[in-house]
């Protein structure tokens, strides 16, 4: 993955529009956050291999970026996106890596299902 190039990422987002695609969306503080800081309220969400179709995908802002997908009946978005890659299987992998290199958010789009 490399740092976000807005034009390039926008082109990739456009290429998946109006197609049935599988997404992986994840936000996390890590399972140890409340272990190291007992006052930390640990929350996160994870969804993988859900099929959606979006009509408009947009990357916005300075890094860390926001990426939003507008669907017929709703929305998908992620904030804190810093890196991306179109992998060897043609999947669009986006991630938000914090200053120590730990993943805080991921949004991935693929025309074929991700592994288990």
């Amino acid at each position: 993955m490399k740092e976000i190039n807005v034009n390039e990422l926008q082109t990739l987002l456009n290429s998946f529009a109006n197609k049935d695609v599988f997404i992986h969306l994840e936000t996390t503080n890590g399972s140890y956050a409340s272990h190291y800081d007992e006052k930390f309220f640990n929350a996160g969400a994870f969804i993988r291999n859900v099929k959606i179709r979006y009509e408009l995908g947009k990357v916005v802002g300075e890094s860390p970026h926001r990426v939003g997908l507008k669907m017929e009946h709703g929305w998908v978005y992620a904030q804190g996106i810093t890196h991306y890659q179109s992998d060897e299987q043609g999947r669009l992998l986006m991630a938000g890596l914090d200053y120590t290199g730990k993943l805080a958010v991921a949004l991935e789009i693929s025309e074929t299902p991700f592994s288990y």
Partner: protein, 225 residues
């Protein structure tokens, strides 16, 4: 504390590296004694957060990286029977409870271990650790008392000492420190930060690492019935 000979040691943890942090020295000592050790690793740590910045991995490439690290770590520990159980990181607690118990029961039936090393439920911090420990304890509880393997349980929640007291099983693993370090180094996607040059470490960090490298502690798990 000197390790006693065992018929077979079954190690059950959910993530590649759980075994290295908690037990690499103990496992290496058992292997040096000729005791067979099986490691059932439930997931490939697919949800590991450390991808680096600049990144060395993606969410999708991490599992294969960690699978290779796990194999290399097992070589360092001398584990010849590694079972990758195919569950997904952070989903273990959401699997069917009975399926999890059966997974453990099947391993016990096949291997007839005299000792199991796993996490202490209630004191294991990570939800996957807790679910693993719960499944193991329930599987062993269902075995007739006289036939049960002993269980060395790892607890490291902040309240562990307050609730359970000092660990009852303490292994000096300093004689195999090099092998433990090699196992930890093998999990480099997870341990790079701690295996780096020592010169930047604080005294507190050095003390903590030294205890990780030289001592492995467990609670002998006991059942009420």
């Amino acid at each position: 504390m000197t390790l006693q000979p065992e018929r077979h040691v079954l190690v059950i943890f959910p993530h590649p590296d759980d075994e290295a942090f908690s037990s690499a020295g103990t496992i290496r000592l058992y292997r040096n004694m000729g005791v067979p050790v099986t490691y059932a690793c439930l997931t490939l740590g697919e949800m590991g957060r450390n991808l680096g910045n600049p990144p060395f991995a993606t969410r999708e490439s991490l599992p294969e990286i960690r699978r290779k690290e796990l194999i290399a770590a097992c070589e360092a520990m001398g584990i010849e029977d590694l079972r990758m159980m195919g569950l997904r990181d952070k989903t273990v607690e959401f699997e069917d409870d009975e399926k999890m118990v059966n997974l453990v029961t099947d391993l016990i039936s096949e291997l007839n271990p005299s000792l199991i090393i796993t996490f202490y439920p209630g004191f294991a911090v990570h939800p996957d650790h807790e679910a693993t420990g719960r499944a193991v304890m329930e599987a062993v509880r269902r075995i007739p008392k006289e036939a049960r393997p002993r269980i060395y349980a790892v607890g490291f929640a902040n309240n562990t000492m307050a609730k359970l007291g000092v660990p009852t099983i303490v292994h000096d693993v300093s004689s195999v420190r090099k092998e433990k370090e090699a196992a930890l180094r093998a999990h480099s996607s997870q341990t790079g930060w701690m295996m780096q040059e020592t010169k930047h470490r604080t005294e507190e960090e050095t003390t903590k690492l030294d205890s990780w490298f030289n001592v492995e502690s467990y609670y002998l798990y006991s059942f009420e019935d």
